[in-house]
Subunit: 368 residues, 2 copies
């Protein structure tokens, strides 16, 4: 395991005088915690208390690890930067820091989809060990460096659900003509099977689904989906969301701003982003079971995607990745790096982890 980390390189030397980035003048003696204020914009609205909540936890943490001196002021999507322009705002220095999902910028380079998580890719734990352990993170660092961004992993939704459907999906045929709110690689894969992908912002999904303008919509999972009320207008809730078997958020920091920080403030960002990732994973794992129970009690009908549907999507996905590899050098580099790692991970996870899970889940189902 390479601790891909400033912990590795920073050593334990004291930072001398106050950094040039300090807002306050240095006092007569060395000041180890200079006062620094940053603007921290998010792609998410405040109502999503787990996604946006991650930004708030980060701000609190940066203050509390620096005796109140490193202050991040958080802004929800649209307050100072539109939700889908976080990448540009950080890259050009409009803000020092931004929270987003890298796959929103898929159009800049498809490699950014990998940073969030590939359809039929690694699960939540596998993705984390790939990023931190395999050297994948360094490749992303190189990519973002070209855009004046220093990147960090920032939270995860874990495996998502497959969305809400007005009618059942019983076969691959049923995908034909389906107007489905879904984006990114999943849309590209599904279009090959006849789906008509729709790009609709979060707040507009409910009325579209209610009126029948669309036939289905995917969002995140039970906890977030329940908030948007999809259960009231679509009875069938499918799983798994194979396009987001894990889905990781991103923290983008303007590289010039980052380099001006005292070393131990840089460490606070690195440690803090990893803390938030852990916090968010746990929060979703804690909230989703309760939300699922409420949804099912309220009449939601859970449905697994038919095996034939999963397999058809899987095979189209592989073709999309092969084609994308011919178009993006960054995508090819990370995809080639990813494949053997994925296979090793799956081989191991099938053994102790999956066998354990299968047994305890089975015994639990017998009790209920």
């Amino acid at each position: 395991m390479q601790l891909r980390s400033f912990l590795k390189s920073a050593g334990m030397g004291a930072v001398g005088a106050a950094s040039a980035a300090s807002v306050l003048p240095a006092p007569a003696i060395a000041q180890s915690n200079p006062e620094i204020k940053w603007r921290f914009t998010s792609s998410f609205p405040k109502s999503l208390d787990t996604l946006y909540g991650g930004a708030e936890v980060m701000a609190k943490l940066c203050a509390e690890l620096t005796d109140g001196k490193f202050q991040l002021r958080t802004f929800a999507a649209g307050e100072i930067v539109p939700g889908l322009q976080v990448f540009d705002a950080v890259s050009n220095g409009t803000v020092e820091m931004g929270q987003t999902a890298a796959y929103y910028y898929f159009g800049k380079d498809p490699v950014m989809a990998f940073d969030t998580g590939l359809p039929f890719g690694l699960n939540t734990r596998e993705h984390a060990s790939w990023i931190y352990g395999s050297g994948a993170f360094q490749i992303f660092r190189e990519f973002y460096a070209e855009h004046n961004i220093t990147n960090f992993v920032f939270g995860t939704t874990n495996a998502q659900m497959g969305g809400w459907y007005r009618k059942e999906i019983k076969s691959v045929e049923d995908l034909k003509g389906l107007k489905f709110r879904v984006g990114g690689f999943a849309g590209q894969i599904l279009i090959r099977l006849g789906v008509v992908p729709q790009q609709i912002a979060g707040g507009d999904i409910y009325p579209a689904l209610e009126k029948g303008t669309i036939d289905a919509a995917e969002w995140v999972g039970p906890y977030d989906d329940e908030k948007l009320g999809f259960n009231k207008v679509a009875p069938f809730y499918y799983y798994p969301g194979w396009w987001e078997g894990s889905s990781y958020g991103a923290l983008f920091v303007n590289t010039k701003s980052f380099n001006e920080l005292p070393k131990h403030y840089q460490n606070v960002i690195e440690i803090g982003s990893r803390y938030v990732t852990d916090w968010m994973r746990c929060k979703y794992d804690h909230e989703n079971p309760q939300a699922l129970r409420r949804l099912v009690a309220g009449g939601t009908q859970l449905r697994p995607f038919p095996r034939a549907v999963l397999e058809a999507c899987y095979h189209e996905a592989q073709k999309v990745y092969d084609e994308t590899s011919t178009k993006s050098a960054w995508f090819k580099r990370i995809y080639d790096h990813f494949k053997p790692y994925r296979d090793d991970q799956h081989t191991w996870m099938r053994v102790a982890e999956h066998t354990y899970d299968r047994f305890i889940f089975d015994m639990s189902a017998r009790r209920s």
Copy 2:
């Protein structure tokens, strides 16, 4: 999700003058990072670079988040405190901080097994959300407070393997008379099925297994087991290690020492312990697949425990827990709290996560 956390209560107020615990006298102006040196003892030897490595990461992190001022000096098992006396050493203030596994102190109160992870209990992610999200952590805090200890979660081995066997286990009958190096609750469960549990320290297992003094031994998983060389003296490697479907480490801090720290140093410990937990989970997930591949290439024969064996052990486990609940009020309190949470977790995890995993693992197996 309750962020069981000093983040919640600490607020952002500045810590005034240097703490009373500061080793150096306060200078003329307020010193936000006082110099503090602690002794940090471990239950593990330095050779276990993932378990003991967690203590080293923690020491580095505490220094680097405080501009080098909060210094933990790490000691391996036996250097200043015997490996299995960490609890007492922290409790009575011999050292300020210790790394250990709570279930080693099972004899003091069986509730401590829960802190590590119960046989047939929660998996790695479920245990984390239970601890941080459900209020379980607060109950452990109350328990440890009686012993002058402020506790933190500190690392995880993830699902362990079921150990190394000189002969195959084909039925429940094969457990009878089996001399098996295993401890804690697993030993109590297995003894009811005829196993003769053996308590043997890590370094002594290999010769015992080689000579046939014991028939089988469990340790951790591929990465750590390979280091001890068990594959050379026992051909069959069983899974899953149902007694440690997840296995979490503990960080114990002497409460008086903790209370004397500046608030933001307390935060560093909390954030740091969670960082180490994440780091260790990732490191094991990264190392185990490669170690498993090497072991299998070297002739190790993987075997799943027969379903009948798992079920027999599972049923005995439930009886042991019911009996233990009548003997320990702490155990009963946490077990009653645990059961409905476990059931909700399993219900949810079976849906998106497990279905996703099953599919991607299956497709991966077809490729290989």
